[in-house]
């Protein structure tokens, strides 16, 4: 069955998780009924669910991708509206973690739901078998656990537990829906306490916190050793606990200790934590409270750290640098002198052994465990990838030497790695001691896999061109952070004739965390510092030529962004015939933020977009005003849906919810454009000229007076206004695309020579934050 058979969803429980799940269903364009209890006070019986939606509309980062999505959530209460679950194909229960209350609800749902409609619980602690106790056959066969992670929009993991009675077709339908529509990567999990991610994650945090205190490390030292070298995200161990909420820790401990089998290593981590108890008692529960392991002082925007000895905050102390080898080599890290080696080993030795011991128990294979930790805790490497980096033999040897149990799969592995590549195919080691292919979900196409199996058609230091099969080539950015530079433009120059000769279509795509945050500013600043103005102008002209070559190439070009697509990364989208965007694409022309104007054709392309937008008033000003508003304020759309509202994407552009399916969707989109493809014609503009610019600058003046724009903002806005209104053009003149490019170059070059622009760029490079000069 396909996902389309789930056409309406009901979420019961409008807490953070339930409301967030409902929002994500709505983000997928599927109507959703969100029910919660009737409040004790007040006249509005739907107030709880309504309040949850209202709160989400104010939450940042936003649970909703668009205002339209929010309208797909219908609110109600379980006393008056429960029978409406009969309208729904999938009912998600996300109420309080109390078995009796859940069972009570299921007893009611059993009578009301339509046959075959799936029911799932978002429980993170209660075994499936207990949940369905007392229910009839139909209910049992429709029931499964769908364990989302918080926040449901942004966390890509979902753990799914099928019970022995669960009907495969019902479960497959839900799996297909959460994969394609909700964009989650499904990790099949066994019905064991905490499933995979939270079981390992909670253990990991407990081990790391205990060891930091036992071994006399500061918070900063612990986060330094247990953070980046192990592929843990920047928040670090203590930052993560602050984010989750320190008050949640005892609850997790309680639930795990109640459910885990006797002898589980987790019990060894449980101990009295007077400091943590005190912090909870004092309300220092983490980020939401303003202080936890770190305290965040809003006024001074400084972060202070907890002193384990005193329980008070002190200024942060930067720890000594790790020995250089220990930064990237886990063996060196665990053997480093001083505090480093023992702390690293305490974490890795325990957590990796624990993870290995769960193969077969909590998951069928190691890929599920690695996926769960990478997607549920944002680890860069899964536990078994970490073991490969440390050396499976070394890990087993040291565990053995210390008299600790060596998990079965580690013994099975011996000196062999958990992952290998055979004939371009990635394989993992199974419990049976043989290697199996890592199989992607049906229909998933990853550049990572293509790259493993083939060589690039052409490549240089910043980009590469790959054959994605079926006559589609893929242009990949490869520089650090996918920054765009002259090399990328040169490669585009070479790729266009090559694709024209040998392929049907081109997809611009990569698998970095961000599609591209724009031009390589560091390189640009280097050129500025040696006053190589002609080089900068060449870079601008080269980018313009490359992007226009893509636009007018004799084959369709589809760009497929995910994550940030800013500045030049946005401009390449604007030059594409179509875009297939990941729903989590953050698109914008942000040049003004660093004191510049879009220089690679973005101004003309945006004007062309906006003058063709439906429902726009006639005349030369409306498109100019819109583009000016969007670009002068460096607006970044916070989702693909929002990007359509700004004109960064067209209405006809595609949106893919599941990151893993982006390339396949983009390829299909590109192939759909091949038949009868003709390149677009160059636009010609009628622009308002000096009168229009005067209107824009009057508005800027108002922003200045209100304190919403800085003096230099006004200078940059003046340049942008000049470009967008056509420079010296009269209202009756025809402004060509070439004229627009020349205007962009002229004003870009004028601004880049200004020391105030240079100060902005430098600040961005140094702090990552815009300078408001």
């Amino acid at each position: 069955m396909s996902a389309s058979t789930i056409e309406k969803v009901c979420v019961i429980g409008a807490g953070t998780m339930g409301a967030g799940i409902a929002a994500q269903v709505a983000n997928a364009g599927v109507p959703v009924l969100l029910l919660d209890i009737v409040p004790k006070d007040g006249d509005d019986r739907d107030a709880v669910a309504k309040g949850a939606v209202a709160k989400m509309l104010k939450t940042d980062p936003a649970p909703f991708m668009s205002k339209a999505a929010a309208k797909l959530v219908e609110t109600g209460n379980i006393e008056d509206h429960l029978e409406r679950v009969a309208e729904c194909d999938w009912i998600v229960e996300a109420i309080v973690e109390r078995l009796d209350i859940k069972q009570n609800l299921y007893a009611k749902l059993e009578k009301l739901k339509k046959p075959g409609a799936a029911v799932s619980s978002n429980t993170s602690t209660i075994p499936l078998e207990k949940l369905i106790d007392g229910r009839g056959e139909e209910f049992r066969s429709s029931f499964l656990i769908t364990h989302f992670f918080n926040p449901p929009r942004y966390m890509r993991l979902i753990e799914i537990v099928r019970g022995p009675h669960t009907d495969a077709a019902v479960a497959d339908r839900v799996v297909d829906f959460v994969d394609r529509k909700l964009g989650k990567r499904v990790v099949p999990t066994k019905d064991t306490p905490g499933f995979i991610a939270n079981r390992i994650g909670t253990y990991w945090l407990a081990v790391a916190v205990n060891a930091a205190m036992d071994q006399g490390l500061t918070i900063e030292e612990a986060d330094q050793i247990g953070g980046k070298p192990m592929g843990v995200p920047k928040t670090g161990i203590f930052g993560l606990i602050d984010l989750v909420g320190i008050d949640l820790m005892p609850l997790l401990t309680e639930s795990l200790t109640a459910n885990l089998p006797k002898g589980d290593p987790y019990f060894d981590t449980v101990r009295d934590q007077p400091l943590i108890e005190r912090m909870i008692a004092e309300g220092r529960t983490g980020r939401k409270a303003g202080s936890g392991f770190y305290s965040f002082e809003k006024k001074t925007r400084t972060k202070r750290a907890l002193d384990f000895a005193t329980g008070e905050y002190r200024d942060p102390v930067k720890p000594q640098r790790l020995p250089p080898r220990a930064e990237g080599d886990l063996h060196a890290l665990t053997n480093a002198p001083g505090k480093t080696g023992p702390y690293a080993w305490e974490i890795l030795g325990k957590v990796l052994a624990y993870s290995a011991s769960l193969v077969g128990e909590a998951a069928d294979d190691i890929t599920a465990i690695d996926d769960a930790m990478k997607l549920g805790y944002n680890w860069k490497y899964g536990p078994f990838e970490l073991i490969d980096r440390l050396g499976p033999g070394r890990l087993a040897e040291r565990l053995e030497k210390e008299g600790r149990e060596v998990p079965a799969i580690l013994k099975t592995a011996g000196e062999r790695p958990f992952y290998r590549v055979e004939d371009g195919q990635r394989q993992y080691l199974g419990l049976d001691g043989t290697y199996h292919d890592v199989v992607r979900a049906e229909g998933v196409l990853m550049l990572e896999d293509i790259k493993r199996k083939s060589k690039p058609l052409i490549r240089n230091g910043s980009a590469a061109l790959w054959d994605a099969g079926d006559g589609v080539a893929v242009l990949e950015f490869t520089a650090k952070m996918n920054a765009l530079d002259g090399e990328v433009m040169k490669l585009i120059g070479k790729a266009v004739p090559l694709v024209a000769e040998k392929f049907k279509a081109l997809v611009v795509y990569n698998e970095g965390s961000n599609f591209s945050a724009g031009a390589n500013l560091g390189l640009a600043m280097f050129a500025v510092n040696i006053a190589a103005w002609s080089e900068i102008e060449k870079l601008i002209a080269g980018g313009q030529d490359a992007y226009k070559a893509l636009k007018y190439a004799p084959f369709p070009v589809v760009s497929a962004p995910a994550g940030l697509a800013l500045g030049g990364g946005c401009e390449i989208l604007l030059h594409s015939d179509a875009v297939q965007a990941h729903a989590e694409s953050y698109i914008g022309l942000v040049e003004c933020g660093v004191g510049l104007v879009p220089g690679w054709g973005g101004c003309g392309e945006m004007l062309d977009r906006w003058r063709n937008m439906p429902k726009q008033p006639k005349g030369p000003m409306p498109p100019v005003t819109k583009v000016f508003e969007i670009v002068s304020t460096a607006t970044v759309a916070k989702s693909a849906a929002e990007a359509k509202g700004y004109g960064f994407l067209r209405e006809s552009d595609g949106v893919t919810m599941n990151r893993d399916r982006l390339l396949a969707d983009a390829k299909a989109k590109a192939l759909s454009l091949v038949d009868g493809y003709t390149p677009p014609e160059a636009p010609e503009f009628k622009l308002p000229g000096a009168g229009g610019k005067a209107a824009l600058m009057l508005a800027v003046d108002g922003f200045r007076k209100r304190g919403m724009a800085t003096p230099y903002d006004a200078v940059v806005a003046d340049a942008l206004a000049e470009v967008l209104t056509g420079g010296n053009a009269d209202l009756t003149d025809t402004v060509t695309e070439k004229n627009m490019l020349a205007l962009e170059r002229e004003h870009f070059m004028k601004l880049v020579r200004d020391p105030r622009t240079q100060a902005r760029v430098e600040s961005m490079l140094e702090t990552g934050k815009p300078l408001r000069n």
């Binding site: 008033p617 006639k618 005349g619 030369p620 000003m621 409306p622 308002p688 000229g689 000096a690 009168g691 229009g692 610019k693 005067a694 209107a695 600058m697 009057l698 108002g702 007076k705 209100r706 304190g707 209202l731």
Partner: protein, 377 residues
């Protein structure tokens, strides 16, 4: 010279632009319903109407194509009734009345509908294609934002934030009292919308206190004193008055509200456009041969609290006679519609509360003032 009288006054409910109950109503439909209401309410013979003179500050988009003529057709007035759109920004529909008075004086008609319309929801305050003369923009304040001019007036007259907040709170309180007393039910023509009939104002904020207003941030200048609470809100609304020769009104038994005694226009500095009423009112009073203290009713358009206070102070007006039913800060200011509203209101108040003379006056963006003196008949 033939006398001109105001023989009827109506308006639509006023609602906030963008989010109000009239935001989804086309301005031509809004004006047509209002005019139809005036004809029905006064009982004037429609075929006697010479012309519809309609004020509109941004006559484009749905307010374009000579909206006055279109509104006549929409309102099913006889085909013989003309239509003329007038633009003097905020003074547009007061000018419409002045034009009609002039036409009557030279014998070019007996009865006129003088109306005003502005849907600030549907046509933005700058129009859709603002293209100022760049040279003029450099050398003068002709295009300065209205909020900035209000700040300039506050500064020139040393008006404090507190004085402005208190004035605005008084305007809200007067409007609240007028609503409670049912003073608006007579003048409001219910408007049919897609979501049902709208027959009350959405603009006033009953219960507003100066203290609450004190909490608002400056709206136009971060170091300034003018806030959204001491400014008239962006508003959707229409107004219409029946202007006839005195002879015609008497002959046909029309309910005469007041006679037009004198009118005046005067230009002033664009950067303090809010002071426009001072000179125009002086001129009109002089032409009427009366002094300010002889006025019984004053309808002074409250574009901003600051300019209202400056005008009251400069002309030496008795504030207790100013805007007895509240002003634009509470009721709203649909640019093109305000002039006819305050002339009609001043005339109606003379009739309702008694008295001899009334003044209606307002400031105009770009630096002008306009004034009308009425006398009881």
């Amino acid at each position: 010279m033939r006398n001109t009288v105001i023989a009827g006054y109506v308006r639509s409910p006023f609602h906030l632009a963008g989010k109000g109950a009239l935001a989804r109503v086309r301005p031509d439909d809004l004006a047509a319903q209002t005019i139809r209401g005036l004809v029905e309410k006064t009982g004037v013979k429609a075929e006697d109407i010479e012309d519809i003179v309609m004020g509109c500050a941004f006559p484009e988009g749905e307010q374009g194509f000579n909206i006055a003529r279109l509104v006549g057709l929409l309102a099913d007035l006889p085909i013989s009734v003309g239509g003329m759109t007038v633009n003097r920004f905020c003074g547009s529909s007061m000018s419409a009345i002045h034009i009609a008075a002039g036409q009557i004086a030279i014998g070019a008609g007996e009865a006129f509908i003088c109306a005003g319309i502005e849907s600030m929801s549907r046509v933005p305050m700058t129009g859709f294609n603002p293209m100022p003369n760049p040279e003029l923009a450099k050398k003068s304040a002709a295009y300065m934002s209205m909020g900035e001019t209000a700040e300039n007036v506050a500064q020139n007259y040393n008006l404090t934030r507190e004085e402005q907040d208190q004035f605005a709170a008084r305007s809200q309180a007067k409007a609240e009292a007028a609503i409670k007393a049912g003073h608006f039910t007579d003048e409001i023509i219910p408007i049919a919308t897609r979501n049902g009939t709208v027959d009350t104002d959405g603009t006033p904020r009953p219960g507003t206190t100066a203290e609450a207003l004190g909490g608002l941030k400056p709206a136009f200048d971060q170091n300034g004193t003018v806030t959204a609470g001491t400014s008239s809100p962006l508003t959707d609304g229409a107004s219409a008055v029946l202007v006839t020769s005195e002879d015609y009104a008497k002959e046909h038994g029309l309910p005469i509200l007041a006679r037009i005694k004198s009118v005046a226009i005067s230009g002033c500095n664009p950067e303090t456009m809010g002071l426009g009423p001072i000179e125009s009112s002086r001129k009109a009073l002089e032409r009427a041969g009366i002094s300010a203290d002889q006025l019984d009713v004053i309808e002074l358009n409250e574009a901003f609290a600051s300019q209202s206070l400056a005008v009251i102070r400069d002309l030496g007006l008795d504030e207790s006679k100013v805007n007895p039913d509240g002003g634009a800060i509470a009721i709203g200011h649909p640019l093109g519609a305000t002039g006819a509203r305050i002339v009609g209101k001043a005339a109606a108040l003379l009739k309702r509360d008694g008295g001899k003379y009334a003044l209606a006056t307002q400031c105009i963006g770009g630096g002008q003032g306009i004034a009308t003196v009425l006398e009881a008949v």
